[in-house]
Amino acid sequence: MISAIYTFALTTGANRVVRGARIEHVCGDPTLSPEKDYAFGLRIVTTALETLTVAVPGPTLFDPMAPGKAEEAARAS
């Protein structure tokens, strides 16, 4: 699940949660230039696809802005 309000997703039991940009523009950011907006959205979507290739024990956050630290970060309580 890609969501900007990712804490909701984690506490309600979504297992693979990707941090989106904002509620009004989850996969991208219109305040950036069109190229950077697209690159940002692509990064979010690519992160989401990568979550599908790893095993997770339960609700786990993947942050496209903090690559590498994804899985150890913020497990749902």
């Binding site: 692509l42 979507v45 290739t53």
Partner: protein
């Protein structure tokens, strides 16, 4: 009301004395009077109540031939005309629990009060607790006596046409329904009492019960994305421009499936958002923000993923009861599975 309380008891093939698992496919039969645990039930019901008949049905038959089983149960109820049907207890047995739930629904559908008992984690509870009365039991038959003692007084009252009070005082499993009644004191006073109790470290209880979210076992990882079929789902309220399908903007009772096999991306000329829970204007300028088709096509061209699934799923995820949302989710998941999808991206606003 005069005359003894007339009870019909529903049991499976095991408790009906027909046999074990090898007899699980036997159809519905009826016996006169109590059988097996029905004798204990009759004792627990006390004076003035009689188990007039026992309906016995194999657990597999009740599940696999549910319509036929329901008709046979209904016929027996029509013949005996009891005041109440008691089903089980089913304890932790899943098929038996579902069968008991079926029997209760059939009875209620014919104006006969009904009650059953089973372990709270029995699938019979999750499938039917909103419609029927279920008394919680332990997971195994060792709790038979306690189960019947808890069930019997409720069965008597239901059989006499009484309406039961709330689950927490009567002891049945909460049905998730609310009734209007007068609590005696206005809400602000009760809220302040609660706040004061909390500040003083004293016990208090919220009037809004916390429903723990369902836990879902994580799906196994995809071995090779480059061969995977990927689908997209959005709760961002994506609709075709002008909303020709007449989707609502909140509390959706249905979701929509759209074909995108021919599309490279979602154009704002053809798609927009209709969702009462966020500012839609930005998505209306680029719908790919809530359904990332443009990105997935890019990755498909580059061979990073195998195939973009030809259908997308959309609804506004706002002000929807959890039970309704769960139903949408199950239905979409089943459709994705049937479509050979390996993985799905769900974008939630």
């Amino acid at each position: 009301m005069s005359g003894p309380l007339r009870v019909v008891h529903y049991v499976n093939q095991f408790f009906g004395g027909v046999g074990g698992e090898e007899q699980a496919s036997v159809g519905v039969t009826a016996r006169s009077g109590p059988v097996g645990p029905g004798r204990l039930l009759e004792a627990a019901l006390g004076d003035g109540a009689r188990v007039e008949a026992t309906i016995v049905c194999g657990d597999n038959f009740a599940i696999e031939q549910a319509e036929q089983a329901a008709r046979a149960i209904a016929a027996e109820l029509d013949r005996v005309k009891p005041d109440v049907l008691v089903a089980g207890p089913a304890f932790g047995s899943g098929r038996y629990g579902l069968a008991c739930a079926l029997a209760c629904r059939v009875a209620q559908g014919r104006g006969v009060a009904a009650i059953t008992a089973m372990h709270p984690e029995n699938p019979g509870v999750s499938s039917a607790r909103r419609e029927i009365y279920v008394v919680p039991t332990g997971p195994s038959t060792t709790s038979m006596q306690a189960a019947l003692q808890a069930l019997a007084p409720l069965a008597r009252r239901l059989g006499r046409g009484e309406r039961l009070g709330p689950a927490e005082t009567e002891g049945y499993i909460p049905r998730g329904s609310r009734r209007v009644h007068d609590r005696g004191r206005p809400g602000y006073q009760r809220a302040l009492d609660m706040l004061l109790a909390k500040l003083h470290g004293a016990p208090y209880r919220s009037e809004v019960p916390y429903a723990a979210p369902e836990r879902v076992t994580p799906a196994a990882p995809i071995a090779d994305l480059a061969r995977a079929r990927i689908a997209m789902v959005t709760t961002g309220g994506l609709v075709r421009k002008g909303n020709p399908d007449k989707q609502v903007s909140a509390n959706a009772v249905r979701y929509h499936r759209h074909e995108v096999a021919e599309l490279e991306s979602l154009s704002p000329r053809e798609w927009e958002a209709y969702h009462a829970g966020y500012f839609n204007h930005i998505v209306n300028s680029n719908p790919n923000y809530i359904l990332p088709l443009s990105f997935l096509r890019d990755l498909e061209r580059r061979g990073r993923i195998g195939k973009v699934h030809e259908h997308i799923y959309a609804l506004p995820g706002v002000s929807t009861p959890v039970a309704v949302s769960a139903g949408h989710g199950r239905s979409i998941a089943a459709d994705l599975k049937a479509g050979g999808v390996d993985g799905a991206l769900l974008v939630a606003t």
